[in-house]
Symmetry: C2
Subunit: 327 residues, 2 copies
């Protein structure tokens, strides 16, 4: 059993967890476009590849899949998820299962307004969104929601170009400057993250790990504490199974009063996955079992609440005095 | 030999390095005001202390020094360095050597304009600074320097409230909004960081590690490559010895053309110290030798150039289900 981790970047822990899980039974191969991606050096073997928008990128990756007899492949960066989902058939032809949700669903995750429409249609609480600012002014005038609101690109990764806006004047300036913005209700509540696994054989949600985010830093969760609530588990299970997600998912959730609001879904390993793993949730094991054609047992909530995760910097050191650096 | 690391925060690597160096010959004690400071859990023992501005803070720290028979103490956060330097005598009375530069010098490091004056007076190249905006306009009008410039607080830690300003209008707005700002020449060159050790016994500079900063992230160096230049070593040695620095220092340097400009000095372990350490520079060993009354050999530049450091996230996990969280 060999696993390919695409665009491994700085996700050393994910590579380590897969290596540990495969132990002597298989190899972890990693790729990145940069020699300065520390995670590639954790793998059994790595390939330096072009950037994902290069015309020959897919062919190069498929060649690696064949040459290394890769059973399953996944990516750690957003722009590559669509590619993996769209080219599912070509990966399967190469003997590799792409570990990713269906293409349409992946696209919906990257379009915040489409995700809002999906959640609303499924009657799942979520913050209100507007692409039409006049519609927002009307709703704001009616007291349906109030400033501050978030103004952000409809499609956009991480916390890029997100502004908290306190009035009409500021909002007009932003809409004058940029295209494809949307207005999102500001959710002033407790923020949670969920690491979810949807079994690739059974389609059932087999793992959920929820943590309350305690401290953010540069758009990432820096400190968090594990949290359990059966009502939330049940809402997440229904949502991900009904949508047809597949494999690892990362979700952002807010709680205001007694209500949980789903705000974002990333169909990949979240940056906070090590918290789940260190608390006993093992997604690499589930991936491997699925790739063997077996389905996983239901283990939602089998972890302890009140366990804290605190990030700190580790360093990877590499002698590159003989390496030609093409950045 | 026991070492106290104050305000350890997320600096797990520094705690690990001291533990390793002391091995069975002594203990590392750490403090922080938060139970969510991962580095305290690396130490042999930790104390939760009040915030450094609490009235009884110093007494509490001195009590720890006596109780734990601490030989040397240092801090990892800027606001505490002045305290350590100012209260040197009280620490010495408690039997503890504060590992810090002299008080006046520490204060100069935190006042960017004072540091500019010091460097200028020593005829060391540095970016031009202005506290008087009219003087800046005059110099700009004469073509002595040009936009963009940095506008930043004279005293300020990390990259807080730093603006890159492209014209007079913007500059006027900032000066209208905030007090105690200064204008600093924008140094458009290669950026270096230096980890320097000044022997506490001999007053000589015994270690310098220089790295070129390759990639920044959230105000921190994310990737860097080790670098050697005898001319730069010699300039740093002269500067730190003449000023009378003491112990660990972190410096920011720019190179434009053939000239090195010193831009900032932090009289403490820099965030990038693990790069130096993993390349063979060992400051904990030098601290311990100094605390034993011995001076260190000259080892400036005894490392390899071209060695890359890449940061990634490690996680510390702690069960806090029985801990009362007072944040």
């Amino acid at each position: 059993m060999n696993i390919l981790i695409l665009s491994a970047g700085t996700r050393n822990k994910v590579v380590q967890y897969f290596k540990k899980e495969l132990a002597e039974t298989g190899r972890v191969i990693a790729t990145d476009c940069s020699v300065l991606a520390p995670a590639i050096y954790e793998a059994d073997k790595f390939y330096l590849v072009p950037r994902i928008d290069a015309p020959d990128y897919l062919d190069i990756v498929l060649d690696i899949c064949k040459k290394e007899q890769i059973d399953g492949a996944f990516s750690l960066i957003d722009p590559e998820l669509s590619l993996l989902a769209r080219e599912r058939e070509r990966f399967l032809e190469a003997g590799t299962t792409p570990i990713i949700s269906p293409y349409e669903l992946v696209e919906t995750c990257f379009d915040k307004y489409k995700m809002y429409e999906l959640l609303t249609q499924m009657e799942i609480p979520t913050g209100r969104c507007f692409v039409d600012k006049e519609a927002f002014y009307l709703a704001e005038g009616n007291g349906e929601l109030s400033y501050p609101v978030f103004v952000k690109p409809i499609k956009g990764s991480a916390s890029m170009h997100i502004n908290k806006v306190y009035g009409k004047e500021e909002l007009e300036v932003l809409f004058g400057l940029y295209d494809d913005l949307m207005i999102q209700e500001f959710m002033n509540g407790t923020e949670y993250g969920a690491d979810v696994y949807v079994d690739m054989q059974s389609g059932k949600c087999t793992s959920i790990f929820v943590k309350e985010k305690i401290k953010m830093r540069a758009g990432e969760t820096d400190k968090a504490i594990s949290y359990k609530d059966k009502e939330l588990f049940s809402a997440i299970e229904k949502f991900v199974e009904k949508c047809g997600f597949c494999g690892m998912i990362d979700m952002d959730i807010f709680k205001i009063g007694d209500i949980y609001y789903i705000s974002e879904v990333n169909p990949r390993f979240g940056g906070g996955y090590p918290h789940a793993h260190e608390c006993g949730v093992n997604m690499p094991k589930q991936v491997i079992r699925n790739l063997k054609g077996e389905s996983n047992p239901y283990t939602v909530g089998s972890y302890k609440a009140g366990v804290c995760m605190m990030k700190y910097n580790e360093v990877m050191i590499k002698d590159m005095s003989d390496t030609e650096m093409i950045e």
